[in-house]
């Protein structure tokens, strides 16, 4: 009975978003209310426990939202300057070969946009470009949808990964290696799938070399950048390296058109400068101790007393999520946004009224997802502090036991599909996966890598994203076609993560050597 009651908030969100097609904000509100009522009536959560749970949730919400807001601000700064359009227009000049175009634009550039933006931006930006190049609307939506999934967790400048850390209380050093490994391996398969979706098996055979070169190059970069602590630029750096690799590769696949015309190299350099600033600032903050210590002086921390339910479930005393205000990734993104704005302004890329449009565009775009994250994070913390997550984890542990490594990525995938985002899935299921892993004796790092990788790869076929993509490619009302095609690719990708997780569990992987003691 307790298991069913504990599952109700999650089931309700699933039903409302998938069954009734509610938005994440509305469903999150309903999920929050159900969790609050069930925690109070059936799990013995008193008013003090609920009050502290709300404050704990607020810290986690701020931690995640600072990155989401600032990441989108940087994207708007670049977009308003025409930088995204400039980069997008430059890419087709590299090659007239349809297969290579699909790889460079639908995979590498989509990953780049996911790395710096996210929130459905890759498909929304790329689908019209591909339609303009002569791809069918279905292919134009399909290619970037498949192509950016592997970059979601470490994309949006790390917001989904930040959510995983916030929801589980584990550090980036513990979680990054296996998460990055799983996603990097899947990235290679993603490349093959993009080639297949563009031109079938013949393209897969013909473009195997470029796919391997790009996939290995981007995967290795994402992995090493993530494990070196710079996880918030891991996907972005990987895609940037992918773009660099794509230049010489494209020379070998120029297609029938011998001369692809000139493009303005200076304009491209200026367009990319905003993101170069981001790299420089992040490296300075992470690698120069004086800067790191100076910015880390102001820390927001709140201490919580021990609280318990009337049923005996106890949440121990301790600090909530600690936020180093001026060294937080969100603030680093904000510094980058301000500097990038001045660079673009100096280059004369803004029309009058640009600052107002940047700010209002950012606020209007992120407020809905901010509401859904606030509701869902609070729901997740109430479930955790009242023992609902523990009850679910115990039920899951008893029910599937040895099959848990197989199921873990599918739980993440389900969360991403129903909530429309990797971030939300990590918030809703992160603590549950962690607790179940602990109960069954599996490595937390392994199971949480499966959670976030499964969520990232399946987030691309969330109804909300598909609707946005279809509308920008002129396929409004034909979303079902896109979802049917995406389903096959997504299932194969999540299956790959299941196999990797089973392999990891079989080998007894606890993490990577330097973090073994922490897991």
């Amino acid at each position: 009975m307790t298991l069913i009651l504990a599952f109700i908030p999650i089931a309700l969100i699933l039903f409302l978003m998938v069954g009734l097609r509610w938005g994440a904000a509305r469903a999150g509100g309903a999920g929050y209310l159900s969790a609050l009522v069930i925690a109070a009536i059936f799990f013995g959560a008193g008013p003090r426990l609920l009050a502290f749970a709300h404050m704990r949730a607020l810290l986690l919400t701020v931690d995640v939202l600072m990155i989401i807001w600032a990441a989108f601000l940087l994207f708007r700064v670049a977009d308003e300057a025409g930088a995204i359009e400039t980069i997008g227009k430059a890419l087709p000049h590299l090659t007239a070969d349809r297969g290579m175009q699909s790889l460079i634009i639908g995979w590498v550039f989509a990953s780049f946009l996911q790395g710096v933006g996210g929130f459905g931006v890759p498909v929304a930006v790329i689908a019209p470009i591909l339609v303009g190049l002569g791809f069918t609307p279905l292919a134009a939506v399909l290619l970037p949808s498949i192509g950016h999934g592997w970059a979601v967790t470490f994309g949006s400048l790390g917001s989904s990964f930040q959510a995983l850390m916030a929801a589980t209380g584990l550090s980036g050093e513990q979680l990054a290696p296996l998460s990055a490994l799983f996603l990097s391996i899947s990235g290679l398969l993603v490349g093959l799938m993009v080639a297949h979706a563009a031109e079938g098996w013949s393209a897969v055979r013909r473009l195997l070399g470029p796919v391997v070169a790009l996939g290995v190059g981007m995967g290795v970069v994402q992995f090493f950048v993530a494990i070196s602590g710079l996880w918030n630029i891991a996907a972005f750096s990987a895609a940037l390296v992918g773009l660099v690799i794509a230049f010489p590769l494209a020379r070998g696949f120029r297609g029938e058109q011998a001369d692809n015309g000139d493009f303005d190299l200076r304009a491209l350099a200026v367009a990319l400068s905003g993101y170069a600033i981001l790299i420089v600032i992040i490296l300075c903050v992470q690698l120069i101790p004086v800067v790191k210590n100076f910015l880390g002086q102001v820390v927001i921390t709140v201490n919580f007393p021990e609280v318990g339910t009337s049923h005996g479930f106890v949440t121990p005393a301790g600090p909530g999520r600690t936020i180093p205000l001026f060294r937080h990734t969100g603030m680093v993104l904000a510094y980058s946004s301000i500097l990038a704005y001045f660079v673009y302004r100096w280059a004369g890329l803004y029309e009058s009224g640009a600052p107002g449009r940047i700010i209002s565009g950012t606020v209007r775009r992120v407020i809905s997802s901010s509401v859904s994250i606030a509701s869902m994070v609070t729901m997740a913390v109430i479930m955790e502090d009242s023992g609902m997550t523990d009850a679910l984890a115990r039920g899951l542990a008893q029910g599937i036991r040895g099959a848990f490594p197989l199921a873990a990525p599918w739980i993440g995938a389900l969360g991403a599909f129903m909530t429309g985002s990797n971030t939300n899935s990590n918030v809703v299921f992160g603590a549950l996966q962690l607790r179940t892993a602990q109960l069954l004796g599996y490595s937390a790092a392994l199971i949480l890598a499966a959670q976030t990788a499964g969520a990232a790869l399946s987030s691309v076929m969330a109804p909300t994203k598909v609707v946005v993509g279809a509308s920008t490619a002129g396929m409004a009302g034909r979303e079902g076609e896109v979802m049917r095609k995406l389903l096959v690719y997504t299932v194969l990708l999540v299956l790959l993560i299941s196999l990797l997780t089973i392999l990891g569990a079989w080998l007894g992987v606890q993490g990577f050597p330097r973090i073994t003691a922490l897991v």
Binding site: A25, R26, G29, A30, L33, L36, A51, F52, M55, S375
Partner: protein
């Protein structure tokens, strides 16, 4: 009931913004109320967050 819901849908941004402000400011007051065991305040403030979430449900 139809008209208020339509009105909310037309003012989606404002509705979400106001709900978000309530959801993020109230927990701070809840924390201090819980520390001083002010049960009346806790219930009242919880009601504010609950109303904010109900408000969001009606924003289509």
């Amino acid at each position: 009931m139809q008209n208020p819901i339509r009105w909310l849908s037309r003012h989606k941004f404002e509705a979400h913004l106001s709900a978000f402000i309530l959801m993020t400011l109230t927990p701070v007051a809840l924390y201090f109320a819980a520390q001083s065991d002010a049960l009346g305040w806790i219930w009242g403030l919880l009601a504010v967050v609950i109303l904010a979430n109900i408000w969001v449900i009606f924003v289509r």
